[in-house]
């Protein structure tokens, strides 16, 4: 097996893929963001409410590869309870980990480090950032309101 790839799929990705956090549909949620990759067909939906300015009851559902599923699971786990500004900054940090060679921001923790290997596989980068890109679009639009 290829060692670089094993690096990308570190235990963290495999674990999140097998047992994702808060993997459930919630049609009653106030917000339902669709993250869809038309090139490969990966499709996730993020459900959440906003209580006292904080993202609450964030869950997700859908299907995709191990990387996109794990990365969405990590998003859900980390954005729960954050306000829009905190969430946006967190999402941007994640993207810079996934896309750039910059060292890991210690605040983000080792869970995100797994995705830093995605940049070695340009074909798979979108898998790692799919849900995050959608979330950023939403947050940027709503943050000033």
């Amino acid at each position: 097996m290829n060692e670089r790839l094993k690096g990308l799929y570190k235990t963290i990705i495999l674990e999140h893929n097998k047992e994702p956090f808060f993997f459930e549909k919630n049609e009653k949620a106030t917000y339902g963001l669709k993250a869809y990759n038309q090139i490969c067909g990966d499709r996730f939906e993020l459900y959440f409410d906003v209580k006292n300015g904080l993202i609450s009851d964030l869950t997700f559902h859908g299907f995709g590869c191990a990387i996109s599923k794990a990365s969405t699971s990590v998003l859900v786990k980390n954005l729960r309870g954050k306000d829009f500004m905190e969430a946006l900054l967190f999402c941007r940090s994640f993207l810079s980990v996934a896309k750039n060679d910059e060292g890991l921001d210690e605040k983000l923790g080792e869970e995100l480090e797994a995705f830093s290997a995605a940049k070695e596989f340009p074909g798979r980068l979108k898998c790692a950032t799919l849900a995050w890109d959608e979330m950023i679009i939403f947050l940027e639009k709503n943050i000033t309101k």
């Binding site: 097996m1 290829n2 670089r4 790839l5 094993k6 799929y9 495999l14 097998k18 090139i39 490969c40 067909g41 990966d42 499709r43 299907f63 995709g64 590869c65 191990a66 990387i67 599923k69 596989f121 074909g123 798979r124 898998c127």
Partner: protein, 402 residues
């Protein structure tokens, strides 16, 4: 005659990537040295436009361009080279038939029939034409093995049906459809039928007159030729009635500000400077295929497909998608809880090229309730040992994902 043994050496890509295991031939085939040289030599030694210049080089290019048309007609056993229209590929060929043949006669509540396993290129153009006029797109159903229901097809053939379009070989399932029978059934009701030969033309001998098919489409790049060149075959009686959908140079007899008089078929459909080097390359590709023993090729591909299928079926949790009785060398599969893109990424790291995705056949994926599959498709330069290597890697991936 070219023997399959040592054939790999004819394809320079394998000298550049000695350990490449290329199993994505349904997407595009590799190009032999002779095709690459024909294109390169054209630009180095012969580059001129066609049908315009009267100096020797241009005359020679025009002659070669038309000679390929004759070659294609012979290759497919068409009645007349004028029935061969150059296009940019299968997609453009289908679109030309839709817009130039069907659309002008299609009315509200008419019907167009396609099959449940069409590539998007042989689905969306018909769908859009139907939508434009309020006609209905009908779909020949298939069973869980990926075989079309001919009984149902027979019942669909009413007087409302204005056109049928069906693929010869499914690009995502590998099913070989009984087009001979389907063409007969269509003609008994006087309905014109188009066959999409994109996946069949490289390996299966096509006899257009024997088939009596009305339209046939293919792309050069799946036939060891270059991209950007393809063919629409149409019976002369239909082509003669069709209006061009693109207008410009190269397709006119006389032009004034008041009125233009167009050329004859097939130039009528080839406005503008066409893909001349593509035509030259396609000609070289057909020369190459003509040197193959096609019975030997089909026997070899069948062995490869059987061998891979039986070995994959031994892998726990692996499901072959598409198990039609008559199948080409395309094997699609899914693995429990491992997404095709993860599989393809791991295979890619081992220099194994496969396709993972919906293969431009989303309705087929919906039918099997899958977001995507992993697809292996063989061609003449594949090696028997590549099957074993592939299966070994699949087993390793399964173990890694646990």
């Amino acid at each position: 005659m070219i023997e399959l043994k040592n054939i790999k050496s004819h394809f320079p890509i394998f000298s550049c990537h000695s350990d490449l295991v290329y199993l994505d031939n349904a997407a595009t085939t590799q190009k032999p040295q002779s095709v690459i040289e024909a294109i390169s030599n054209f630009y180095k030694k012969e580059n001129t436009n066609i049908h315009r210049g009267i100096y020797p080089l241009a005359v020679s290019t025009s002659q070669k361009y038309e000679a390929v048309r004759v070659k294609i007609a012979q290759f497919l056993n068409a009645n007349d080279p004028e029935e061969i229209v150059y296009t940019s590929g299968t997609t453009a060929s289908v679109n030309l038939v839709v817009h130039s043949f069907l659309r002008p006669q299609l009315k509200m509540d008419d019907e167009v029939i396609i099959s449940a396993m069409e590539h998007h290129a042989n689905l969306i153009p018909w769908q859009m034409a139907c939508k434009d006029v309020g006609a209905h797109l009908r779909v020949i159903p298939m069973n869980r093995l990926g075989e079309l229901d001919l009984k149902e097809f027979g019942e669909m053939l009413t007087t409302k049906v204005k056109m049928i379009a069906v693929t010869h070989i499914s690009n995502s399932l590998g099913s070989i459809n009984p087009i001979e029978e389907m063409i007969d059934m269509a003609h008994q009701k006087g309905i014109p039928i188009l066959v999409d030969g994109a996946q069949s033309v490289a390996h299966y001998p096509i006899d257009l007159q024997g088939l009596d098919v009305d339209f046939f489409t293919f792309s050069g790049h799946k036939l060891f030729g270059p991209t950007g060149i393809g063919v629409l075959y149409g019976k002369k009686q239909y082509l003669d009635k069709m209006q061009p959908i693109q207008f410009g140079g190269g397709m006119i007899k006389n032009v004034t500000f008041e009125k233009s008089i167009f050329s004859e078929v097939p130039q009528l459909f080839e406005a503008g400077t066409t893909n001349i080097s593509g035509v030259i390359g396609l000609g070289a590709a057909i020369d190459y295929v003509n040197e193959l023993n096609r019975d030997e090729v089909l026997g070899f591909l069948k062995r490869m497909e059987n061998n891979l299928t039986s070995k994959l079926l031994e892998v726990d949790g692996l499901r072959i998608i598409g198990q039609a009785k008559k199948k080409s060398a395309i094997v699609s599969f899914s693995m429990e809880s491992i997404h095709p893109h993860d599989i393809a990424t791991f295979l890619g790291a081992e220099n194994i090229a496969v396709r993972a995705g919906h293969h431009c056949t989303q309705p087929v994926m919906d039918f099997f309730q899958l977001p995507a599959t992993t697809r292996v498709s063989f061609s003449i330069y594949n090696q028997e040992e590549e099957v074993d290597f592939f299966v070994k890697k699949i087993k390793e991936i399964k173990q890694f994902f646990g």
